[in-house]
Amino acid sequence: MFMLGPLGFLAPWLLLGLVMLPILWLLLRAVPPAPIRRRFPGVALLLGLTDDETQTDRTPWWLLLLRTIAIAAAIIGFAGPILNPKADAGGTGPLLVLVDDTWAAAQDWNQRIDRIETLLVEATQAGRETAVVAVSDLTPDAAIPFRAAQDWSATLPMLEPKPWMPEAEAVTAWAEELSGGFDTFWLSDGVDQPWRSALLDSLQDRGAVSVFEAARPVVALKPAVFEDGAIRLSAIRNRTGSEAEISVAAHGLDPAGIPRQLATVDIAFAAGEAEASALLSLPAELRNRVTRFEISGARSAGAVTLGDDSLRRREIAIVAARDEREGLQLLSQTHYLEQALEPNADLIHGAISDLVLANPDVIVLADVVSLAGAEAEALEEWTRKGGLLVRFAGPRLAASDLGREAEDVLMPVRLRAGGRTVGGAMSWGEPKALRTFSAESPFFGLPIPEDVTVSSQVMAQPDPTLAERTIATLADGTPLVTRKRLDLGQVVLFHVTANAEWSTLPLSGLFVQMLERLAVSTRLAALEPGDLVGTTWTLDQAVTGFGEVVDAGTTPGIAGERLAGEAPGPELPPGLYAGETRRIALNAVAEDMSLAPVVWPGDVTVEGFAVAEELPLKGALLSLALLALMIDVFATLLLSGRLSRQATAAALVVLAMALPAPRAEAQEELDVERLIAATSEVTLAHVVTGDAAVDEAAQAGMQGLSQVLFRRTSIEPGEPVAVNLETDELSVYPFLYWPITEQQPRPSEEAYEKLNLYLRTGGLILFDTRDAGTAGFTNGSPNGRKLQQLALPLDIPPLEPIPADHVLTRTFYLLQDFPGRHISRDVWVEAAPADAQQAEGMPFRNLNDNVTPVVIGGNDWATAWASDENGRPLYPVGRGFAGERQREMAYRFGVNLVMHVLTGNYKSDQVHVPALLDRLGQ
């Protein structure tokens, strides 16, 4: 192929034709345009007038240039120019396509797959055996599965990025086992890995290696950390080139339970910096709702970091008994608690009744005995709804009768009078140490420091339930911590004080860990394997390689220490892990991870996505030639006076019309006009089905119903409108009539979104299968099946046939039948709630408090309503007087329906009439 810079020519000899251009120039220049003959009576006045200049007997230069360009474009076009022609990749023998299927490659995964497809096509053409191997699948002893290239095309869709990085040992082991000769095409994700150079060396031993790498930097988000009252978000990138800014969005559920973007923060990378961070300060309420952070626009597991309990600030209410002693801080009942909890929880103080109203996560009662009846009730109710009540013993508890005779609701166990003291001045024995936690205990696995001793405690009464309620014991088996479940909540009793008076427990790290395990507090620092020893966690929500958070399904449990210590891998996929009371996030990007760009040795060819596509220019050049010739036609006509000014103007207008922009504007203007018209009056609308006859009937039906409404009621509708679900705004129409035809196209996803929004926000759609309800909406008629198909993605509540007391039966007329052209009673509306009660003194129930979003029937109402502009019916209904009666009933149904749409369940409020009258009477 003949190359000229980036241009290649298929038929370069044709370019010699360009030599002809100067000759053509001279020829064209010499020939003036031919004259026109015109009949003109005024010629008598022209006689004797001479031309001023004689220039125009030559073609003007710009016309010559235009023609020359046209010819040149044609010559070059036929020479078959191609921009960036692809040289053949060359090479024979087997080809290994090695894919980095890590999350770092997810960002441009489709381009990668496209590139592999191109490769496979080329390999197929060249007859090369090929293997497509993903890095994460490498196992040391697996041979490379070389097969015919086209076989691999089918497996490409199964190739997906994994949310973890492959393990170095597996890859290097595989690299060492390689044998045979082959070329390699490596689709690198652009992040340096410890195993990369070893693998590259090994591959280069086998044959040529070329690498494909995106120029776009890989950006990842580190786990969010709580810091000084704000959330610190750090992002890393592999290329530290120029400045860049990314936007990180916090996602979570809003108070209505709908997933939303709660906040965004911008992180700016300075030039040359690989890491950058930003602080996101959120109100506690909002912060506790955040479930994950995501780099906007990025699409990989690395760009998502899940928030877990560590981001949550628990609200903990601490209530201590009134202190009678002088304020010695270290002796205060709550001092150690506050020290332990303050860094990562919001502490609140106050009266119990106020605290319960604040609905904290945990209430701690430190040696509090006397609870007023109302306080105890409120506390019990709060606990039963899921609160965690933590109580500490103390002198008062020991001295009180609380839980002495019978078990108190707010105590996990009964207590023996007095408690005991060991190892004190007045007692025998040594202070007791703690016994190792049993497997059932939530503290299982926590190491017990030797210096934790207990010198005083309150004693639990032996009870049948005592063993199961004990979660920590002393070395001699006496319960130290007991717990009782109370519906959704629990009551935990530490049998020692919260200060260091009775034991050294509050002084130890174990105390903090125990509080953590009880979900009283949440961890602040990174997890240590030791923190989670003995716990089992299950994957609740998994993160895919593309960064989507999906439900994990059922997966085997993971030991806590693995969760804390290991990097994510195939057996430990990143995601949100749920334990007994806590949730821990394992993110694809660890706290200490950094991304570095891969440095490829010089003998490896690196190709990027920026590789220019092969672009044949023949069509474009020939079009240019044609366009130039067309302009030439006009210019010549204009020059010789054959083209009148009006014709030029007309041509320009036609050209302008051909341009799309003004038309779109006009369309928009039209839409706006339509919307204004629709909103200034109540406007009935019907859905365009594409069947001309049905649409016409629907339009006439809406027309007829509008007329009837106008005459009989205070609703004065405007001209009815045909609505195209794809393009038109629905929200301005309170009522949509949707006749079902079998050939109707299924609306697009966007249209369904619009429809669902329409239904949720109070719109009503009347579906009409027009088949007299023979379908029964379960099987049967084609229209019924079509309706099922169409309505499947719609957000339709449970339905029931119109009950006799439905508000539709009395919004304007009292009706029991809803005929159209057919008389079928099978008309369905939103089902009433199951617990609807018969209203007192009224023949109907207290029904649901909104407009039914759909009415479904098959009575072909539109044709019954249809009338021309003079109000004459267009279609026959029934026969004779009975038929007219039926039409009247159809109209009445229509009136009731539109009234229902516009007034809602106003008529249902009649149930309140007796009460209102009663009140008026007083």
């Binding site: 015109r38 010629v43 031309d51």
Partner: protein
């Protein structure tokens, strides 16, 4: 060619008559100003200020012997004591109007399909005028075809026929006043684009014979706009005259100057000989031109 084809159509006279009647319909009958023949200088508008045949009341006079009994105005007589009165009318005499219509080939031109040819427009206007005049009891003649001025519906038929069939082979026709009685009125309808010499001569002769009248110039919009560009050969409609130019656009200004000069020449000539001049463009509403003709002929002298 289209026009000649239309004229050779047997229905053409009938259609032309119908069109003209439609156009003349809305106007009241024209009472042409009666001009004194001998005692010329008489002020006033209508009639001859003396008793005679007519429609307008002139005076009551006492009856004398010889008056017919039916001539007596009984209402007036009853109001007097004894005398009988006769009602006399003002004498109204019919006026002669001679039309000359340019039937040269140059008139057979319309710049676009939507416009009538100048000849068509001229015929329609002229015949409408004839209808009005005949209705008003005037005598109308057509000098081209040698039709002397006569009154009555039959004359109207003849006029119609003559107008529909008349055609001249020359590119530009010369005005003609043969058969026009002295001291009558004349109407010249033409585009006046040809040689001005015959027109000047004809007007001088008319002035000599005491004939005054109206010049109506009919032009096509294209002739006033000259919207041409590029290399062009202009030919007269008959093909006898041609002019070639390389850049028609450059000629526009000079052509328009010449046309303005021609119009000016016409109006000066008319003013000098006591005639009146107006321009009518094809495509503009014809009733306007007709109204002008009507008032111009009715105007007092």
């Amino acid at each position: 060619m289209i026009e000649t084809a239309r004229l050779s159509d047997p229905d053409a006279p009938a259609r032309l008559r119908r069109d003209a009647e439609t156009l003349a319909g809305p106007l009241p009958p024209l009472l042409a100003a009666a001009e004194h023949l001998a005692s010329s200088v008489m002020p006033g508008q209508h009639g001859r200020r003396r008793v005679g045949q007519g429609d307008e009341f002139w005076q009551y006079r006492p009856s004398h012997a010889g008056d017919e009994a039916r001539a007596i105005d009984w209402r007036r007589s009853a109001r007097s004591d004894d005398a009988l009165f006769v009602r006399e009318k003002e004498w109204q005499a019919a006026q002669s109007v001679s039309l000359w219509l340019d039937m040269g080939r140059s008139m057979d031109f319309a710049s676009t399909r939507n416009l009538p040819t100048k000849a068509d427009e001229a015929r329609r206007l002229s015949l409408a005028l004839c209808v009005l005049l005949v209705r008003g009891g005037e005598r109308v003649g057509l000098t081209n075809m040698g039709l002397p001025p006569r009154a009555g519906q039959l004359q109207l038929m003849r006029l119609t026929d003559a107008l529909a069939r008349g055609e001249d082979e020359a590119d530009y026709a010369a005005p003609d006043l043969r058969g026009a009685p002295s001291r009558s009125r004349a109407v010249f309808v033409s585009d006046f684009l040809g040689d001005m010499e015959p027109v000047t001569m004809a007007l001088a002769a008319a002035a000599d014979r005491g004939i005054d009248g109206v010049l109506l110039q009919i032009l096509d919009p294209q002739e006033e706009a000259f919207p041409f560009d590029g290399r062009t050969i202009f030919e007269s409609v008959g093909g006898t005259m041609r002019h070639e130019t390389l850049k028609a656009g450059d000629l526009r200004d000079r052509y328009l100057d010449r046309l303005a000069e021609r119009k000016d020449q016409l109006s000066t000539l008319a003013r000098r000989t006591g005639w009146q001049y107006d321009l009518h463009r094809t495509g503009t509403p014809a009733p306007g031109a007709l109204l002008w003709l009507y008032t111009a002929l009715e105007r007092a002298h």
